[in-house]
Subunit: 344 residues, 2 copies
């Protein structure tokens, strides 16, 4: 099999393969359902770095003893505008799902509310969660630390995670306005995909372990990634460490990396999600003001610029009809998971 | 007087000059107090673009009939976690001051709370407000649109304001961790200062009115500014338009610019401020987790990188002792304001 051979597969077939792999390795039914939905959402939107490729890391983390396959999340009513969900060392999607109804209730009651997910193992694209919030007619923000891989502006050693930041705005009868970006210059998964394919990475993504710029993906993974946008991106990364770390009583990216102990499992930490209710901010005026947001979107598109998730939504419609194209090697690597010793 | 002559002046003398100018032009005593405090905070921290230089724009906006010199803000208890302050077309600092006690109460009650300031004319550095929130032991975020000066990533015409984003984290017995940056590549005030001094601007700050890169400050001011960090900074700028615009029932940067009608007054819009209470997120564990944040700060400083506001806090200590150095022309321009027809 040539290294760049690809294979086309329908969403349904790929979904069943995901479920099969996850069940085979001992994940409980609720976790299988949420993990599959999250992986398939990434794949269906052609986000290769957050698609079924992540199955490899999920199973590696499970085998390293770093994640529970069946812990049921505990939802706590922490304060009038705070819901806290203890994921109990399982993956985050089920914890998000279990906490979401209370987050929505609190946002509608108070106008703004926060959900802190604690003790979760994290791998998912945040826009999956953001879209669940916009589907309820709410504005959503989400962020989390990861493993300490990113050097602060002016520094040479990792202090921050890739620390994604995501935002969503509900649009009646349309795809929501959604963005979700790593505060690193690029997602770690993209550097890993370059390493797998042997391609060089662009300058500005990373420094090597001596602090010098590098285009070698392996050297970059041993050194430190860089934040996007210089000191401003670095400041955002620090903010995310703080509000999705100590503020919610959970690990920073450096602590998550130390907890990993070199196993290279998925990061173990917390996540902070905010939901804001336009109806509470605006009352009866809400529809009129949401319409003014449409004027903003039109002014962007009228000059030939794209809205952040346009390509992703277009991919979603296309893959629903045509299925997805995966590297044949990746599909083979996933199928091999069904021949390994299961577990946990 | 040579164009680059500077003059040293004590903070007390400069403060009195500010008060004198503002009173002379008809601002009410509460506005004089808050405006002076805000301008002096910028100057004392050596933030030239947010210091007393802004007095010129304040008086210009007043004379253009774009701002009330004496409106008393109205504070509304909008929802359990939302306070809304109507600035009634006056400058924002007094509105912030009047709403802050209720914002703090709501954050302590609910865990997180939002303050929407509406109908304000804006000129101030957000870190002044952020530091008032961290002084109460709370985590703060703030953002606002401005005038539409910044092109979206992939576009050629202004759609966003310079849209600052600011964050603060309380540190017991230390200066807080604070950052405050424009989501444009640079603050508009910095381009204006280059135009005043006749210096070229760096590439990457702006495009001219044909959409081409320019280093000419005047051409940049006629064309469009660029967001920092490419499509990620552009996405953040869009988020700020939405959450500090339509979400709070106030103007976008394009609407603010249209309202200005070419007068070149200060932007008229709203502002969104969030406050989060670590004690509500963490209970008795708060001090222990805040201590873990200190470990993060130490890991940044130990590798020779600076925390975002370090230079500003150092300047504050130095100017308290030595006063500030201003361009002599600026000081002359400010003193001339006392010879103009007052008003309003």
């Amino acid at each position: 099999m040539a290294p760049h051979t690809t294979a086309r597969i329908s969403l349904q077939e790929l979904r069943e393969l995901c479920q099969q792999v996850l069940s085979y390795h001992g994940f409980s039914a609720p976790h299988v359902e949420q993990l599959t939905a999250t992986l398939m959402a990434g794949q269906a939107d052609n986000c290769a770095s957050h698609g079924v490729y992540r199955l490899l890391g999920l199973i590696r983390s499970l085998k390293a003893g770093k994640v529970s396959p069946d812990a049921e999340p505990e939802v706590h009513d922490q304060a009038p505008a705070i819901v806290r969900v203890d994921a109990r060392q399982a993956f985050s999607p089920l914890a998000f799902k279990r906490g979401l109804p209370l987050l929505i209730d609190k946002a509608r009651d108070c106008g703004i509310a926060a959900m802190a997910i604690n003790h979760c193992v994290h791998f998912s694209a945040l826009w999956v969660e953001i879209e669940a919030i916009t589907a309820a007619g709410l504005v959503g923000l989400a962020c989390n630390p990861s493993h300490a891989w990113v050097a602060p502006a002016g520094g040479r050693r990792p202090a921050f995670g890739t620390n994604p930041f995501a935002f969503g705005w509900p649009r009646p009868d349309r795809d929501p306005f959604v963005f979700d970006f790593a505060t690193s210059a690029i997602a770690r998964g993209d550097i890993e995909l370059h390493r797998r394919s042997g391609e060089p990475i662009p300058e500005g993504w990373a420094i090597d372990s001596d602090g010098h710029p590098t285009t070698d993906a392996s050297e970059a993974l041993k050194g430190a990634m860089l934040a996007f946008g210089g000191h401003k991106g670095s400041a955002l990364a620090a903010m995310i460490e703080l509000i999705a770390g100590p503020l919610i009583g959970d690990l920073t990216s450096a602590e998550s990396k130390a907890w990993d102990g070199g196993v290279d499992a998925l990061p173990y930490h917390g996540e902070l999600i905010l939901a804001l209710d336009p109806a509470r901010f605006l009352g009866e005026e809400a529809p009129r003001h949401l319409e003014r947001a449409e004027t903003l979107f039109q002014s962007i598109q009228a000059q030939g610029a794209r809205l952040p998730s346009e390509r992703r939504f277009a991919a979603r419609r296309q893959t629903a009809a045509d299925g997805v194209e995966l590297p044949a090697q990746l599909l083979a690597d996933i199928r091999v998971l069904l021949e390994e010793t299961p577990g946990g």
